[in-house]
Symmetry: C2
Subunit: 346 residues, 2 copies
């Protein structure tokens, strides 16, 4: 239990069965031009001796890390977790390791993470930008060295980068239109920083839906904040003072929507009768609240899987990222009770 054995190398295997280390390496890596017989012998010996492949030596020699770096803004969200699970599935399948770095929504940390992963020599990066990020300068070193970077969710729309996103504009539009179809007249929007494409596009979709239905978009109907619990609380205080009261709210994040619902119910308002609510993401919480929350399904797992698969295909030369600079994942409205005003029009 306490004798530390020396590690077994391909030299040990080679010696054991009387071939060269090169042959062992080739066999173990399933390279062509090895006789089945030697191969079997090598695998058998490897197993017997308890051989472990040494990634460091291999990586050093091959100048590849076989590692993908992930830069995200927050670990603690349902959506992020799903994306990570999707990335992990694709990466594991292809034998890539992951290094996960998160910025807690701070640019400085995001920059530090980008540098750090660069120094760790990741083969590629999958990233979603922080609330604060304004430029992509910190990804320059990657481009200089031809290390591929794929962005997802929070991206820089106008940049010539590869991105995996949903159609946030359309999602915002259909969410709002759904509320209009329910007969709502005064529809609030609560959204995050307009610097970020996701919130800006959802806002635009909302605004255009209103305009297309000849509805006013009063300034005070739109709340832009950090979507935190405190921010919602503040917004609710303001909303309750509005006359007439709004009759619907489109809140671009399910957790925030859940907080909102809780607060306004505490104030004695009914959902959906007084205020209909639509969220965004289809997080687990959307089915836990009462009434169940109408929301936009944002398939995070698929986003992660697609991003990772494309990155890996690129790394393996099976595809080129430049051939496909924006990938749109399908999103859709899921109608639940929180937004259904009329019986006939579900």
């Amino acid at each position: 239990m306490n004798t530390i054995k020396k590690d077994v190398t391909i030299y040990d295997i080679a010696q054991q069965i009387g071939v060269s280390p090169a042959t062992v390496s080739r066999a173990l890596n399933n390279k062509p031009f090895i006789s089945e017989k030697t191969k079997t012998k090598i695998f058998k010996a490897a197993k017997e001796l308890g051989y472990r492949h040494n990634n460091f030596a291999s990586n050093l020699r091959k100048q590849k890390s076989h590692t993908i770096g992930i830069i995200i803004h927050e670990l603690k969200s349902n959506f992020t977790t799903l994306v990570l699970a999707g990335i992990e599935k694709a990466a594991t399948l292809a034998g890539y390791d992951l290094i996960i770095a998160h910025s807690s929504e701070s640019v400085e940390k995001e920059i530090a993470n980008a540098n750090n992963l660069f120094h760790k020599r990741v083969d590629g990066v999958i990233a979603s930008l922080s609330f604060e990020t304004e430029t992509l300068d910190h990804f320059e070193p990657y481009y200089d060295k031809n290390i591929p970077v794929i962005f997802f969710d929070r991206v820089e729309e106008d940049s010539p980068t590869t991105k995996v996103i949903i159609d946030n504009y359309k999602s915002g539009y259909i969410a709002t239109k759904h509320l209009i179809d329910q007969g709502c007249q005064r529809i609030l929007l609560i959204a995050g920083s307009q610097k970020r494409n996701v919130y800006y596009q959802r806002y635009k979709g909302y605004a255009d839906a209103l305009r297309d239905h000849q509805m006013d978009m009063a300034k005070e109907q739109v709340f832009i904040n950090d979507l935190s619990e405190a921010a919602v609380e503040k917004a609710v205080d303001q909303i309750l003072k509005m006359k007439p009261l709004p009759d619907a709210a489109f809140i671009t994040n399910d957790f925030t929507a859940a907080v909102f619902m809780k607060k306004i119910k505490e104030k004695g308002l009914r959902i959906p009768e007084d205020i209909a609510v639509v969220g965004f993401n289809n997080d687990a919480i959307s089915r836990m609240v009462e009434p169940e929350l109408t929301t936009i399904n944002y398939p995070g797992f698929q986003v992660g899987e697609v991003a990772a698969t494309h990155l890996i295909n690129h790394l393996q030369g099976k595809a080129n990222l430049k051939d496909m600079s924006t990938i749109i994942i399908h999103s859709e409205l899921i109608i639940r009770k929180s937004s259904i005003k009329s019986k006939k029009n579900p």
Copy 2:
């Protein structure tokens, strides 16, 4: 933008300023016996040339990976996320990388993960066992090579391993006692696999609290299942047929408790009047449900931080894991509205 520059090595730096690579290595690693002057020159040159430390070469040479492996049963839980954040904080601080592997509650996958991380040559492991796991045989290779393993949350209690846990027995006891103090007479328990210490200890605490207060623990009051939504649904169906109906439920997981609350409210029962509910974990969802859920605060972040810190201290020779085989993190009851029956006895 597309010219790939050759990587800068310590040889380049050495040549640049006319010293040997050994000196450069020593300077960059802050080893003693280097004149301040040379050191400054070396750091300056390193920066100018855009030097990146090569972990692979360094790891290969030092026979250390500077990586910690994490084996968990599920990524998609609030608690796990907190633990990971805690581990990440401690690891980042000490310059360790993480590899995260999850088993989706399957033993086979857990074994595969253990083997995989072993082959990746992690310096140490932090693990929480799957629902199904019955032996620790798959960690044998680690012990054989003196690679430290720390377990948290779901551990093998009788094994001579280092663990970071809370007092699940006490937590189960105080949760149940709280319900008894509220005047509840027929208290249900919904818990997970009794193979796992966490659920078994919570069960024991529950049972002992009942016994200490001269209360019966009828067989049908105890539901052992996988805590899934489907399992709760089934349990609720059975519960509604009970006569008399139970007046309280201790559910050893907040998400499950939230599902339970939703289902019984749909059936027209009131919380806490008809059935008082206590959950476990203090997940974010516990404050989102209505009424807010009384629960046991299980400080996941701290668990992760403590586990990682101890592991790293051990790796760095600052402490020895053998000196401290079980670390108990403080947990406590948080009383909210879901369990308060009487006005005078909050």
